[in-house]
Structure formats: structure tokens, C-alpha cells
């Protein structure tokens, strides 16, 4: 019988009570040479095998591909070096990885690190390196936009797309549309959840995709309810590729609608959208 959905709060409570940084999710005696913290300020870690590290990079590459990252692109990541969004981007960002998302796609990554103080440095990189795609941690968007305004930077001349990455946050479509208007370039979502090693990216049609070979997605319509394959509710993620850490029915703090039908973009699996 599948376990009941568990949220980050549940995992953190378990981690503290049981004095187990893996919150009971570590798999037996598997060799896990990489251990990463799942999220900022939360005492929950993931233990990863070498294959987990490689598969995490493939899952991130799949999301990058949905965003339209192309061979030869530079990709600026304005997020912490310890974030899964960054770690799995390059074979040089996390040990025991031979091909990161950028290596798999023929792109070149550049990490800015994630402090709000580094917004100006992100603009510096944009100005001089002209990355094809710029990924910004959603938490840094306010400071990033302020710097853009203060420097009167026309970033649409420097990058062709901005991907905003909320960490288990819901960003409303009107908010994203407002950023798009303000910056004058396409703004897409790259939703992530560290505790589930989850990445989902928005396609041209405005739907979010998480590769079905990597994840099984469900929704929990109301607290304590049974997960369903489609409909509206909290996103419930089962990670299919992690071996060192079991991620089954992780309840992300994000409200979504999973569509019953495939997306018109042609990607496999059921698309979903964030709800305000």
C-alpha cells in the first residue's frame, strides 16, 4: 500500500524527532557518496547514489529542454550553488556527476550564487556574457527587478528568455505576465522541489511538464484526502529515479491543476498548471 502523502513539514518534524537527517527516507545499505540538503533552512537531506546524481541531471536537462535551452547556449543561474537547480547543471558543480544538464544539452552554465546582494552581479553577467537563457530563483525576483530598473538595463537585448524558479511556491499567471511585460521578454516557470528532486518546466503552450519517466504526479484535493491522478489540489510527487532516498508521495506546497489530456505541445504525460 502506498504511503500517505508527507509534506516538508512532516519530514522536518520526523528528522528532528528521530534525529535522522534523511527523515526515514534513506534506502538501506545503498552506497550514497553524495548527500545534499533538500531546502534552505530545513534539516532534511537526500542521500544520492552515483546513478541518482546522473539521473537528477537528466531530469534537470529535460526541464531545460522544455524551456528551449539549445546547444551552444550559455545559461545563467541566479541561485545558490547548493540548490539542486545549480548542482545538477554541470559536471563541475557536484561531485560524482559526469554529465550535468548543460553538458547533456551542449550548453555552458554559469552560476551567480543566490544571495540577494548578487543581483547586480547577475546583471553584470547578462551584460557581458549574453546567456541564451537566464534562470532566477523566484525569491530573488524582487531584488533582481529592482536592479534592472535602477540600472535601466534592457535585458531583453542580453538574454532571450527568463526562467523564474519557485521552490514549492505558487506563482500566479498574472504575476508572470506582469514580469514578461516589464522585462519585454518571455518569462517561463521552472518549478522545483528540492525534497523530491523535482523539476518541471513550462512549455510554449503555458503548461508545466515533468517527464513521466522521472515522476508520477498526483493531486491531493484537500488535506488528508486521497491522491488523484487529475484535478486540482496540492501537488503530490513520486520520484521514480532516486535509489538512495525514497521519495514517494511527497506533498509539495504548491496548488496545481493536473489536466486529464496531453498538452498540445506534444510532450508525453499529463501537463499541469499552477493555480493562484
Amino acid at each position: 500500500m502506498p504511503p500517505a502523502p508527507a509534506s516538508l513539514h512532516d519530514l522536518a518534524s520526523h528528522a528532528e524527532e528521530a534525529r535522522d537527517p534523511f527523515a526515514g527516507r534513506r534506502q538501506g545499505e545503498t552506497e550514497t557518496p553524495v548527500v545534499i540538503q533538500a531546502a534552505d533552512g530545513v534539516p532534511v537531506y537526500l542521500a544520492l547514489t552515483r546513478e541518482d546524481v546522473a539521473a537528477s541531471a537528466r531530469a534537470l536537462a529535460s526541464a531545460w529542454r522544455t524551456l528551449g535551452v539549445r546547444r551552444g547556449d550559455s545559461v545563467l543561474i541566479y541561485d545558490y550553488g547548493a540548490s539542486p537547480l545549480t548542482l545538477f547543471a554541470s559536471w563541475c558543480y557536484v561531485p560524482h556527476l559526469e554529465k550535468g544538464a548543460a553538458d547533456l544539452l551542449g550548453a555552458v552554465p554559469l552560476c551567480n550564487d543566490g544571495l540577494p546582494e548578487f543581483a547586480s552581479r547577475a546583471l553584470h553577467v547578462l551584460r557581458y556574457l549574453r546567456p541564451g537563457v537566464t534562470i532566477v530563483d523566484a525569491a530573488n525576483m524582487p531584488v533582481f527587478l529592482r536592479r534592472v530598473a535602477e540600472e535601466r538595463a534592457q535585458i531583453s537585448e542580453w538574454t532571450r528568455m527568463l526562467a523564474v524558479s519557485p521552490d514549492e511556491e505558487t506563482l500566479s499567471p498574472p504575476q508572470v505576465a506582469a514580469w514578461q511585460r516589464e522585462l519585454g521578454l518571455p518569462v517561463r516557470l521552472l518549478l522545483r522541489s528540492g525534497p523530491a528532486m523535482f523539476f518541471a518546466a513550462e512549455c510554449d503552450e503555458g503548461a508545466l511538464h515533468a517527464g513521466p519517466r522521472y515522476y508520477r504526479l498526483e493531486v491531493v484535493p484537500q488535506e488528508g484526502g486521497e491522491p488523484a491522478a487529475t484535478g486540482q489540489g496540492s501537488l503530490c510527487i513520486t520520484n521514480r529515479f532516486l535509489q538512495g532516498t525514497r521519495v514517494e508521495r511527497y506533498l509539495a506546497h504548491v496548488h496545481v491543476a493536473i489536466e486529464p489530456r496531453p498538452c498540445s505541445c506534444g510532450r508525453p504525460g499529463r501537463p499541469f498548471r499552477c493555480l493562484a
Binding site: 533552512g41 555552458v108 549574453r130
Partner: protein, 435 residues
């Protein structure tokens, strides 16, 4: 007494006879000059402007005398001019580009370094392996490391740890004070044997233990070694860390992200072992550029002997440094370079440089002043003034003043100033003080 492992080296390249090192370095320098003169636009321009025609160089003295040196401002100027992030120092050949990293923000301008897989699997990897090895990282060891992936050192550590087959624990965050409690929690939760971090973060972790009224030794139980990058560690501070944490040893890592070189200390703690087959480091007088012998303090000028990445030739790091004379007890024969701080943070008297490390070494003798940020300023023709950002109430600066005078043999005054601005790592931002 050195531990037995102190004589373990990563490879035989670290213990070549000095004459062989010199012969190989001279050959590599000529190769680097030839390549730069033929292929790299930045150096073609610099050489032309200096009237230097890259021909065979027969001695290190001739190299120092004839080859123009460059500075960060030159590289930054070239980046501004090209507008492409490249300065014309990128020796990438036909290899695909793997990564771009930023150098430090010195002068308020980050330049960029470009790296190819061939370098990350070749010379730079070898440099990283030797550095990790010398600071005590071994296969199978559990290493807690932070990963600020904008910095070259993080990339090289990643590849080095992979090749060594060490396990890693990566907590969330970066080297800013707000993440210190989280790093302490990570040490307690995972019990690493080795930690790679910066000195301010280590200091912050111990302060955090004190705030939480934790026994520091219990918090660091299981940790054998710590290696700190980013600033020189004073002798009192090292003693303090060993005593408080109970670890076996603490190592300093140092070099320059502008200039893309570095190395770690061995168990003898005489300075940084710099791989002589990968980098050639000269110490020159700041004013005249005269090549200085071992033991004399000047600024470090580095030439990378690598390709497949951005290459720095006679790059003046503007870091105060000296080659430490004599044989190292660890048996390595490569040059040992000690770093003392930025030249702009130092005071130059005739024939003498008083650097931040000199002052740090004295102030760290006083528990209340240990690790506290400060700025050194010239005060009259023969003296210095040390302005501290903050000191604990009741700290006797008169005693600190007397200690600085006695240790450095110059007129000095230690004062406080509330107008020192601190950067994101808690460091003093030079030039930020007004009035």
C-alpha cells in the same frame, strides 16, 4: 613532530629535484610565451605596447626583466572593450567550452575565466588533487563542502573530490554569515571527517556554538581536518581552533581567482605548496618590479603553465607574498609561497611591507579581537593606525596597541571606527571608510 601521513604525496611531480623543476619551468614559460604571442590577442597587444618580441628566454631573471606584467585592471579593461566577457586570454583551442566562472570582484568588476573539459581533466584537476591531498583529503573520507559554483575553486574541488573518491555532504547556502548556523547543524548531523570552508565561516560556527552553549568539541566530534580558504590564518587563531574543536589539524588554502592558481599547506604549515609544473610564481618588488629572492616580501606574479582555459601570463595578483626559503619537511620540492593579504590593504614603508596578516597575528592574541575585521592605514611617516570595525565592551586597545608596536617594531595605534563597511562575507570593504 610531523604525523607519518605528512610525507605522503599525491604524485611524484611534487618532489622533483629543484634543478629539474627549474629546467621544466623555463621550457614551459617559453612555450607559454610563444603560444600567447602567436594566439592570444590580449597578450599580442600587451607585448606590442611594451615593445616585447616573444623570443626564447634563457633565465628567470630575463623573464622578469623583459616580459611585461599585467594586472586585474588590464584584464577588466579588455573585457569592457570586447563586451563579450572574453579578454583575449582564452587558450581554448578546438576544445568545447565546459564552464565559465567569475573571478573575484576586486576593483568592483568581475572578470570571467573560461574552462574546457581538457583542462578540467588535465592540469587544473592535477592541481586540485594535489591541493586536496596536501590538506588531508583522502579516498573514502566524508567531506563537508560548500559549493559556491561561481568560483573556480568550487569547480576544481568538485572534480578533485570525484577523482579521489571521497564522499561529500553539501549543506544549503553560501559563505555568508546567515548560513553559519545551518553549516553547524550539518556538521552535527553528518559527522564529516574533513571540512572545506572559509575562515569567517569557521569562526562563525564556533561563535554559534557559544551562543547555543554547545560544547565545541562535541559539535566537531569526528572532524579530523579543516581547510580554510580566503584569508591567512594566524598562529594564535590556529591554536585556538585546535584547542576549541579538538581536530587534528587546520590547513590554509590560498591563491588567486584572478590569476587562477593556488595551493594548500602541508602539515608543516610553512606556506602554500604551488605546483611548479602548473604555475610559475615570482615575487617582485611592488614599486620597481624587481625580482626578489626567497625570503623577501613583495607581490606575487603568476604565469599559468596550462592551456585549455583562460591563461594568465605574468599576472600581478597584487597580493603580498614571499617564497619561503629552505627545504620543506614534507619532502615536496615545489615552491612554498606564503600570502599576507592584499597590497592595497597593506602599508608600504621603505624596504618593508606591513600586511594585514602581520596585524592579524598580533590582534588574534587577544580573545576579544580574534578574527574581528579591521583596516590598516598609514599614520605619519613611520606608523600605522589599525581601525577595528567593532570590539567587545571593555577590550583594552592600549594593550593591543603595545603588542602591535612590540611585534612589528613600528609606531602603531589600535582604534575603533564605526564607519567601516563590511562586505557580504563580513570582510572590510577597502575604501569604504569616510571621515
Amino acid at each position: 613532530m610531523l604525523p607519518p601521513s605528512s610525507r605522503e604525496m599525491f604524485d611524484a611531480g611534487e618532489a622533483l629535484p629543484p634543478e629539474e623543476i627549474a629546467r621544466r619551468q623555463l621550457r614551459s614559460l617559453n612555450r607559454a610565451l610563444r603560444f600567447a604571442g602567436n594566439r592570444l590577442p590580449f597578450y599580442q597587444r600587451i607585448f606590442a605596447e611594451a615593445g616585447f618580441a616573444p623570443g626564447p628566454v634563457r633565465s628567470f631573471e630575463e623573464y622578469a626583466r623583459n616580459v611585461p606584467s599585467i594586472r586585474k585592471a588590464d584584464v577588466a579593461g579588455a573585457v569592457r572593450a570586447t563586451g563579450s566577457g572574453r579578454a583575449g586570454i582564452e587558450a581554448l583551442g578546438t576544445s568545447r567550452l565546459s564552464n565559465v566562472v567569475m573571478t573575484s570582484g576586486t576593483l568592483g568588476f568581475n572578470t570571467f575565466a573560461f574552462l574546457t573539459p581538457s583542462d578540467l581533466r588535465g592540469g587544473s584537476l592535477l592541481n586540485s588533487l594535489r591541493e586536496l591531498w596536501v590538506v588531508g583529503v583522502r579516498p573514502g573520507m566524508k567531506v563537508l563542502t560548500l559549493s559556491p559554483a561561481w568560483h573556480a575553486l568550487a569547480l576544481l574541488d568538485t572534480r578533485g573530490i570525484t577523482r579521489l573518491g571521497a564522499e561529500v555532504v553539501i549543506p544549503w547556502g553560501t559563505f555568508a554569515p546567515r548560513f553559519v548556523p545551518n553549516f553547524l547543524d550539518a556538521v552535527a548531523a553528518h559527522r564529516p571527517e574533513h571540512i572545506l570552508l572559509t575562515a569567517p565561516v569557521l569562526r562563525g560556527m564556533i561563535e554559534e556554538c557559544d551562543r547555543r552553549q554547545l560544547d565545541v568539541r562535541r559539535a566537531f566530534a569526528g572532524v579530523r581536518y579543516i581547510a580554510c580558504a580566503g584569508e591567512s590564518l594566524s598562529a594564535p587563531y590556529r591554536r585556538y581552533i585546535l584547542e576549541r574543536t579538538g581536530i587534528e589539524d587546520i590547513f590554509e588554502r590560498g591563491g588567486s581567482s584572478d590569476g587562477m592558481f593556488g595551493g594548500g599547506e602541508c602539515f608543516a604549515h610553512r606556506g602554500h605548496h604551488i605546483s611548479a609544473d602548473l604555475h610559475y610564481v615570482e615575487i617582485v618588488a611592488p614599486g620597481t618590479g624587481e625580482l626578489l629572492p626567497p625570503g623577501r616580501r613583495g607581490v606575487a606574479v603568476v604565469t599559468n603553465l596550462l592551456r585549455g582555459r583562460s591563461v594568465y601570463i605574468r599576472f600581478n595578483t597584487e597580493d603580498v607574498a614571499a617564497v619561503i626559503p629552505g627545504e620543506c619537511p614534507c619532502g615536496r620540492t615545489d615552491p612554498v609561497i606564503e600570502l599576507y593579504g592584499r597590497l592595497t590593504d597593506s602599508v608600504i614603508f621603505e624596504g618593508r611591507i606591513v600586511a594585514p596578516a602581520d596585524v592579524r597575528g598580533v590582534l588574534d592574541q587577544f580573545p576579544g579581537l580574534m578574527g574581528k575585521p579591521f583596516q590598516v592605514e598609514r599614520s605619519g611617516p613611520e606608523g600605522i593606525r589599525i581601525v577595528m570595525a567593532a570590539t567587545p565592551p571593555g577590550e583594552d586597545l592600549t594593550r593591543a596597541t603595545e603588542a602591535v608596536r612590540a611585534a612589528l617594531g613600528i609606531d602603531a595605534a589600535v582604534t575603533t571606527g564605526d564607519s567601516l563597511a563590511l562586505g557580504w562575507k563580513g570582510q572590510v570593504m577597502r575604501g569604504s571608510r569616510h571621515g
